[in-house]
Symmetry: D3
Subunit: 287 residues, 6 copies
């Protein structure tokens, strides 16, 4: 199952199957779809069209296809606008064909995945468009919806964004509390370098230009500039002078993102694209 | 763990623990919180305040408390504004105390739960407020975020709303496709009554007043009026004349809900309160 | 996999697979079927006939088929008397064909499912037959064997019975302790109606005709008459006069059920059909 | 948790917790006990008495205690008639004390375990009593209720019986099909001895005295005599002359067991004590 | 999937799938194989040869095949030297063909299984070879690598060894602490015989010839001789005079095993073959 | 539970509990520790000393403590030589106190963890010692024992080593096959940089000095030098001239590691420390 555009590698079915299975069981409960089971004949087949009811960027077809397949392995989902496509209102996203019972039973779960993940991809894509032409990349955060991180990170990629850490284990992000507890930035960075191998990136969060300077002096290669406005970010870019990778964070909206992108920062991170993206309205119409 | 206001019964820890555990593991990955483990001394304690950074209705403290407790059973979360409270910007929601490592390690997961579920509660509460003084109740749907249905349904209750079906197994909702496959509404209802016991509610979805009349003639006790405007809903209420419970569905927004509530329908269902509610901004500040 | 008669919708494989897998692992332990693995050649095929060694009503073929299939996806089970069939002693229920090793390894688990669930269906069917010609329907309870509720509820349907609640979450049943704690029946019903949506049935348990009258006066639509004899049940039916759905419960046996059914109650519930049904004797004979 | 009489070692909580947790979740579904949650005040405590409503042998208190404890760790169950006790009608089995909500929520699951397992223990004990004074021991089989083998095997011990194999992996039982496929009894036994270590018992099933003689000549130490009547069993015991351990199987009932025990066989196995034992009627009465 | 030589029955896929799935997820983490996903085209196929880089005995192909198949069901692994084969340096063990992405993604997990299990088989085979021509059989112990017992026990069989107990539940091994707590060997054996059925082997561990004599006098049929040298073992064999099965344990190395085997003991047990066997060096070379 | 020396952060109990639980269940099977349950009185307490029977570096006490605690929460393990300590033969590692049954039941699982992980730590420490005084750090690989990666990586840290990637998802390692499929090193690196965010390290594997030069010219910051001897490594270090971090891999043994460390490489990776480390002999002696 690999419905995404070539530049957006989807997570393996092995990784997302537990999520899809869990979502189906959450909906089927103990007795299953009693309305469908009692009213739809067992051998009846059906075809349906998955379509966008508003413009947006598609994500989640891989989970939708798995939703149908886990109910009935013979259901076939043919993507017309694969994950990562940007579609107009009314566009056909995919066609589904198979047992009418299976289609009706899995419909809501499939739509919940596509609607939610396309919402994330669409919100991401909007920021990416705004930052177009600058070198700034849009990245997500760990502010994700519980249980859906892997899929939301994928949806961000579908929207043209990049991924930050997947969790607290695959990279280091040093914040105020860590620095205070360690007895200062230098002590913190020294200790981390003394304990961590060469495959882990260390990023330090700074609130002021003084802190930025201190981090640069320590040779920190990746720095998060927290809650700075465009003006201050520009000065940070100047001060940095190309040494560290700079990430702007905090207060990123459709209105502010362009100005921030134009300051010259390398990355702009947004929690809203994962935690506050409204669903994309998609529907399944039986033919 | 029972932090909710008396009128909102929270789900048992037995039911939500797998979700919280899954969310923590999703964040801890394989190596755990490497930044915290390397920089924060093992025996150090800390206190932090969970506060609202914007006004809203609180939900999810039960999941936040469990997040901390699964990392360290000795962490204590004392709620100041329990689930179901409506709070002003800046209000203290809860205090957390315990191992500094545990607080930092579980912080993001706890906030992700409270932010998301308070967002759902706040969106629900806004509709409930708008419908105030009418008899109409706000209900959620099955358009929920995959994996979070139990908690989102609880957040709806925290916001003053009511729950519709939890899944396809605990009540019947007869839609167009079911009626067509069964050979007509009468055939569908007859078959369902012949097969289902007395503890299952049968609801029928209708698009027109003619369909409504047909359902009423069959003695259907619960009817969903799909995508009708306020004017048509009023005529449906007249036609019904108190016989069936009426639920209005489709196109419910903060702008339209008041007029719909005033038509005299009993329930108004909204998918947006679960699938498109933006996070409530909550933060954890260490003291 | 859908071996049941049209009027008995079986639970989805997605829901019963964990039970079947668990039962197989419980039997295979760590080393698997060492007798079979050491004595039966790997490529050898076999055919076997599943037959009833006593008359009864069949249930559980869906679980038996899954038992074989989880050991070897190429094993085929062809039902001759699908779930819901009533068969004579010696009747052929199904034929199984495939790897001899797989047939021997899964045999006991498959038979344990069919024997147990056919036992439940047979016990149900006996009550249904006794109540034949009356309007009374036989329903099961929550007195089920731990871990098997979904399948036992299905077996009850195979036997011609109906299902009561699947759990404590999908309908309300108000008992003595609840009424006492709430401060009276009126208070209890009022509170429930104030908190629950329109998709949940509220049933109240009563022991006396006075309590029945009180419940009817409150407009309760579904009432459980607990431990009343036929005479008292008849008076309850008179008093009800068609207003509420009446369920008789307690002391239901093959000897008493006819008289109770003739009182005019709508439902008769029995715990014994799930918790005390003896196995139906079925055997697998290799050809 | 160790409520059984000294001579009946109960399975570790680590092993039975998944079964108890599964049974609770099966009953709680998604929303939990909505009747209790809405009507019983959160802080209210209660006491209840678990009593036998008919005479029998107790088993399953360890699972009942765990049922309450998984809902609320503060509930205390004090056994008066621990697992393995034989009680009269009306006897107090245990007292339970704690949160009224927890008691009501876990009540049905706890009773389902105690009722079912005490049923198994009682059926076992009846056979054991009948065989009293002979050397014959009553043993169970693999004809168990799916998912409950560990607990049913324990219930058999509570009833004074012994356990046969726990599965197909912990001992060998050679049947007709195995012998045929291996090319004869001698070939089968030779192959097994050549492949299996010294910690695995090999039992061979025989239908005739000729087969018994062949097995004894091969030095087989444990032999199952299948479907032989008392007369034939007596001749088998004579022929054996103390060499092998003999197990009688097939057609064991309360009526036949005494005569079979008196033939001098060592073990008598019964599937009915696990697959067809009716529930023991136990009730929980709030004080 | 059944790649083993006829005399080594492999565990069912049902039993090992959780281990293989767990190992893959442990390697894929949350994001999957990002290097492969970004660099290898989706539709590209590949072939690779699994070869031995040093001589040894093969085990674990069944787990390797499952590793590839769980990533992509269309990958085919054709064994050339099935589990249980002894191969020379450079020998082709198997060929794998299918999606290049799947091959690269599952490669390390597949190799980790084959390398580890072939290491166990090779270490076992070395002891078996040393003991060749004597009646002594090499057996493993419970000193296994956590989580891999089923597969390690299989690897021991692939190496020509035999299995001891799979756990503490399928046979009895009475040690010093048990005897002391029971009040003596006689008391211990009497109690065990009074409580255990006929399908459980009782083995007693002895340190001295006096203890051996006591155990033989009690009719114990299986005796573990702990930490005795060859000389003392020979005296034990004499004293036993063919009555009990004797197992030598402790201090078994490639250097000592021959002398011990020649003492006439029946079994020689080694923990090192499971807990300290170095990996067999195997590689996967793309063609 | 935090028994490690300050400089080695152990994984959270939340992450290792499933491994320990799985290992216990693997040993307990279905019936539990039947020897102990039948011979050791229920209320009896015991104390035992965990001691090293050979010199080495300790790791795995956190898993041992959890093993005992999952059987009985009241067992206490007091570490004397916490994880990361280097001990002499005979040294006391920890004391355990609690129920005698629990100690005996969990003993083997606890020892299997400590023995295996201390083996890994000891093998790591030996390489670390050899490289002492140089700047080279010893790192592990993904050649780990299936199912134990998190704990083995921790054991490597206990031995003074560093961790490489935890899986294929948290960093990039570009090998021959990737480069070939991408159409060259430049294309591969360009594509990766275009798709990956700033928190992922990209390492490239090279076999020759020409490849090294090409990688350096592309600005690759982390380079794996595969299977180069000390002489060639020295030339690589010269060529690098401090630009990239250099990792030597392949053919690392106790004999070769010193010479390689003295070439000036930054990291030396070894698969043998995880996949081929012999157990450290540890024993539990009851007092």
């Amino acid at each position: 199952m690999n419905f995404a555009l070539p530049h957006t590698s989807p997570p393996s079915d092995l990784l997302i199957e537990p999520m899809v299975r869990g979502a189906l069981i959450e909906d089927l409960g103990r007795a299953g779809d009693i309305t469908t089971d009692l009213l739809i004949p067992d051998g009846q087949n059906a075809r349906a069209r998955l379509a966008a009811r508003q413009p947006g960027t598609v994500s989640g077809l891989i989970a939708a296809a798995l939703s149908f397949r886990l109910i009935d392995p013979d259901v076939r989902l043919v993507p017309h606008a694969p994950d990562g496509s940007t579609v107009a209102k009314g566009a056909l996203i995919a066609e589904v064909e198979g047992s009418a019972r299976a289609l009706l039973t899995a419909e809501r779960t499939a739509l919940n995945f596509v609607g939610h993940l396309s919402g994330v991809a669409t919100a991401t894509h909007a920021l990416v468009e705004q930052a177009g032409g600058t070198k700034a990349r849009i990245v997500c955060t760990r502010k994700t919806t519980p249980g859906l991180r892997v899929l939301q990170k994928y949806a961000v990629r579908c929207g043209g964004g990049f991924n930050h850490r997947f969790g607290v284990d695959d990279a280091v992000l040093v914040k105020d509390n860590h620095i205070a507890a360690a007895g200062g930035l230098k002590e913190a960075v020294t200790r981390l370098r003394g304990r961590l191998g060469h495959m882990v990136v260390i990023e330090v969060e700074v609130d002021t230009l003084e802190q930025l300077k201190a981090a640069l002096d320590l040779g920190v290669g990746t720095i998060l500039l927290d809650n700075m406005n465009a003006d201050m970010l520009r000065r940070a870019v100047d001060l940095n002078n190309g040494r560290a990778i700079l990430e702007a964070s905090g207060g990123i909206t459709l209105e502010t993102v362009r100005a921030i992108a134009e300051t010259g920062v390398d990355y702009i991170s947004s929690g809203a694209i994962t935690h506050s993206a409204p669903n994309l309205d998609v529907g399944l119409d039986f033919i």
